[in-house]
């Protein structure tokens, strides 16, 4: 089941990845830099946010006006910054979602990788509220909706005694102080946690890719800029608590959950969100379990050269003081819970060379389930049947490629876990011992290695930029590295391999130690057009779900009535004056004239429209001692038109009748928002 979903996910990714590989080349393919690209978008958000902050007024009146000023008067800079701020935030969600889906589909979240996976969940819980508070600060009609629904969500948590949503039901109720709080949360509070959490997110992996390649950054920024000029971000009319707009352009990337509140109570929505988050958190441990034996160190062959430690992409190796009494200072040690058994360290070990004989071939570090000695055996076996002068041996990786289809009288295939598992001396050995006339390394895309750095290290080792280096004497004309993902782009891989074979007519010569570069794949002619088109589509994708489909809070022809007030019930027992005798019994510092039991009666509220009961509840007092106010917050949709409204409330615990009542005939226009409040001084209800 899980495998089927992952398989489907992989297929869904592979096709667009293949197209984009053609357009960008696989080192610059944005789909292979999703995590880093997200961080880059957050940079854009940060920089543009600083500009907006300078001009933003943290007040009820100023918030909307200052954003309008930026958007209209200062459109050439402030407006662009605002658009960048919004669209880059949306683009970040697009890349985050793709990032999650990709890591899930390609099974890069289990075993030792659980840490990065699980620490991604809090990141989501910070990014989404960042977006929400951002929309809130604009204080337009969408902001009002966001404010109301967010407060309803927060009110459902047992941390506030009073209703927060009440603040947003009338213009008078809202204070500037609130905007200061919101701005603090949005501009300082959440971003600090976000940066810290990103650091934790990449904490366990070595050499995390924080920035995408420069060309990818340029493309991303250009697409966001173009979008900002073509379709500037605008506010949706000043917030007016008395009116519910017919429809709103909702940013579905950030607010997709909010419309659910129209159908479900907040508690259900919370349960859904928390349940989903927990499911993601436990996903790495859900069956089927997958764990291959971690690498093992053989101290007889380890002198502590540290190459494996430098090459491990997952920080699973470290140096420790020598434990076997040999004269070396240190030795490599495996942190087994961090090891993904990719074998990249094995490929880095200077003692892992097939020039050693089979019986003696025990490198300093090796994979118990796929030793270097067995790879050596597999190469000799696989090449045994080869004939002719154009014999090829292809090394593949990840075990899911289709390279075996190419096996014939001239072609042998040996699959490894990761390409970097292959020590470079294997290439030398295969060619100099005449097992084949050419060697092909056909693996993951260069920047999208299943084990992060395998393709990169392999390429650097073969180019003699990284230890262990391919020996200079190897005729690199006989070596081809194809980072075309043969499981994804098999036809092109096969074509490239065939083309490489055609260059192999000359017999193998030990080269005269000249440096030359191993064969690379060709570039496509239409690349620039494809790249522009791809970024254009990405920009469109970043904006489309922020404006479409439009969302209406109210059914057509309806208006809305909110009951919203707090009122403290009367005390259950009256205060009683203490007698002198009783007072004498108390310690002197605790003597007070009366004893007042704190508990209050619940407040009973009944609300009717045209004689029909809409709300009838007994509201318990808040507080640990049941001594606080009772709070009513209730919204109901009714058809526009003239209605008879009636409300009754009792605070004395009486069974029948009410202590206070209010009644009025009210004509509601379509989309109008009427608030029913209680005036504590006059002890009357207000309808407005």
């Amino acid at each position: 089941m899980l495998k089927t979903i992952q398989k489907a996910g992989q297929l869904a990714f592979e096709l667009p990845q293949r197209w984009l590989d053609r357009a960008f080349g696989n080192t610059l393919n944005p789909l292979r830099h999703l995590g880093a690209l997200t961080i880059f978008f957050l940079w854009i958000v940060l920089i543009s946010g600083i500009w907006i902050t300078i001009f933003f007024h943290t007040s009820v009146v100023g918030a909307f006006e200052s954003v309008e000023y930026l958007t209209i008067e200062q459109w050439y800079l402030g407006g662009v910054m605002r658009s960048l701020h919004r669209y880059a935030s949306d683009a970040a969600i697009v890349t985050v979602v793709l990032h999650i889906l990709k890591e899930f589909s390609f099974d890069r979240y289990r075993t030792a990788r659980w840490f990065s996976w699980v620490t991604g969940v809090p990141l989501l819980w910070m990014i989404i509220p960042l977006g929400i508070t951002g929309y809130w600060l604009v204080w337009d009609q969408l902001a009002l909706y966001v404010a109301l629904v967010s407060s309803e969500m927060l009110d459902a948590l047992p941390i506030f005694t009073d209703s927060m949503a009440r603040n947003f039901l009338s213009a008078e109720a809202l204070s500037d102080r609130f905007f200061t709080l919101m701005a603090f949360t949005h501009i300082i509070g959440l971003p600090i946690f976000l940066v810290f959490s990103i650091w934790i997110h990449v904490f366990r992996i070595t050499r995390p890719k924080i920035n995408p390649p420069r060309k990818v950054m340029v493309g991303a920024l250009a697409s966001m800029l173009a979008l900002s000029f073509v379709y500037p971000a605008l506010s949706q009319g000043k917030a007016d608590p008395a009116l519910v707009p017919e429809t709103l352009a909702l940013d579905w990337y950030y607010l997709a959950v909010y419309p659910l509140l129209n159908y479900w109570p907040p508690a259900t929505v919370w349960a859904l969100l928390i349940g989903f988050s927990l499911l993601i958190c436990i996903a790495p441990w859900l069956p089927p379990p997958r764990k291959v034996a971690p690498v093992r160190i053989d101290l007889e062959n380890c002198n502590g050269c540290e190459r494996c430690v430098e090459d491990c992409p997952f920080g699973a190796l470290e140096m420790a003081p020598r434990s076997d009494g040999k004269k070396y200072a240190s030795e490599a040690v495996v942190a087994e819970n961090l090891c993904l058994s990719c074998g990249i360290c094995v490929g880095s070990c200077p003692t892992a060379t097939p020039f050693r004989t089979r019986s003696a071939l025990s490198p300093g570090i090796d994979l118990p389930d796929q030793t270097v000695a067995t790879i050596r055996d597999r190469v000799t076996e696989a090449t045994e049947h080869l004939e002719g002068s154009r014999r090829l041996i292809i090394f593949g990786c990840t075990g899911k490629n289709k390279l075996e289809k190419l096996i014939d009288a001239e072609t042998a295939v040996v699959n490894l876990t990761c390409m970097a598992q292959l020590p470079p001396s294997f290439v030398d050995w295969v060619l100099s011992r005449d097992f084949a006339d050419g060697v092909v390394l056909s693996g993951c895309a260069h920047n999208d290695c299943q084990y992060r750095l395998g393709a990169k290290w392999t390429e650097q080792r073969m180019h003699r930029e990284r230890d262990p280096q391919l020996r200079k004497r190897v005729d690199v004309e006989k070596l081809a590295m194809l980072w075309t993902e043969p499981w994804c782009d098999f036809p092109n891989t096969a074509k490239a391999i065939a083309a490489f074979r055609d260059t192999l007519s000359a017999p193998y010569k030990i080269s005269d130690h000249e440096t030359s570069t191993p064969v690379k794949t060709r570039k496509h002619r239409l690349r620039p057009f494809g790249a522009v088109l791809a970024w254009g589509l990405f920009a469109a994708a970043s904006v489309v779900f922020t404006i479409w489909p439009r969302f209406s809070q109210l059914a057509e022809g309806n208006a809305i009535i909110s009951l919203t007030f707090s009122h403290a019930g009367q005390r259950v027992e009256e205060c009683r004056l203490l007698s002198q005798e009783e007072l004498n019994k108390l310690p002197p510092n605790m003597r007070k004239p009366s004893d007042c039991p704190r508990e209050r009666h619940p407040v009973k509220v009944l609300f009717r429209t045209d004689g029909q009961v809409q709300f009838d509840k007994s509201l318990a007092p808040s507080g640990f001692w049941n001594d606080g106010e009772s709070t009513v917050y209730y919204r109901v949709e009714i058809p526009a038109g003239t209605h008879e409204l009636y409300i009754g409330m009792s605070d004395s615990g009486r069974e029948e009748g009410f202590d206070y009542t209010g009644q009025t005939e009210f004509t509601l226009a379509e989309g109008q928002h009427v608030v029913v409040e209680f005036d504590h001084l006059q002890k009357t209800f207000i309808f407005r």
Binding site: C305, A360, S432
Partner: protein
């Protein structure tokens, strides 16, 4: 007869490096002696393979120590290592193809490389590490 001779002045001042130097020289001498006798080609290949692995590992360690000490002549020293590794591969090929030629090559190339490398590069390294 010994091909290479270990001299106390070859010491670079790091216990591990000196230990390996001595060990390798011993290994190469053993090989050279074996070549004089009637040892089969397979054994020679095996010994060569071990020497190759040991030297590769030794260089890896020495290079690490040089990097850690920010040794100024690191690049040149490393290039010389790489040259020797190339030579050893050539040597292994020669033995594989024709053991007699291999023996001559071992004598002419390896001993001169070691003599030169020890007296120049490693001597300079001694000043740095020692």
């Amino acid at each position: 007869m010994t091909l290479l001779e270990w001299k106390p002045e070859y010491c670079v001042g790091d216990a591990a490096i000196d230990h390996e130097h001595e060990h390798m020289i011993g290994q190469i001498n053993t090989l050279y002696d074996q070549l004089g006798g009637s040892v089969d080609a397979e054994t020679i290949e095996a010994v060569l393979g071990e020497i190759h692995a040991d030297i590769s590992a030794h260089f890896a360690l020495e290079e690490r120590l040089m990097r850690e000490a920010s040794y100024a002549e690191y690049e040149d020293h490393k290039d010389d290592h790489e040259d020797l590794l190339d030579q050893i591969h050539d040597l292994m090929d020669s033995f594989y193809a024709d053991p007699t030629e291999g023996q001559a090559l071992l004598k002419s190339q390896l001993s001169s490389w070691f003599g030169r490398h020890f007296s120049t590069f490693d001597a300079r390294l001694h000043k740095q590490l020692g």
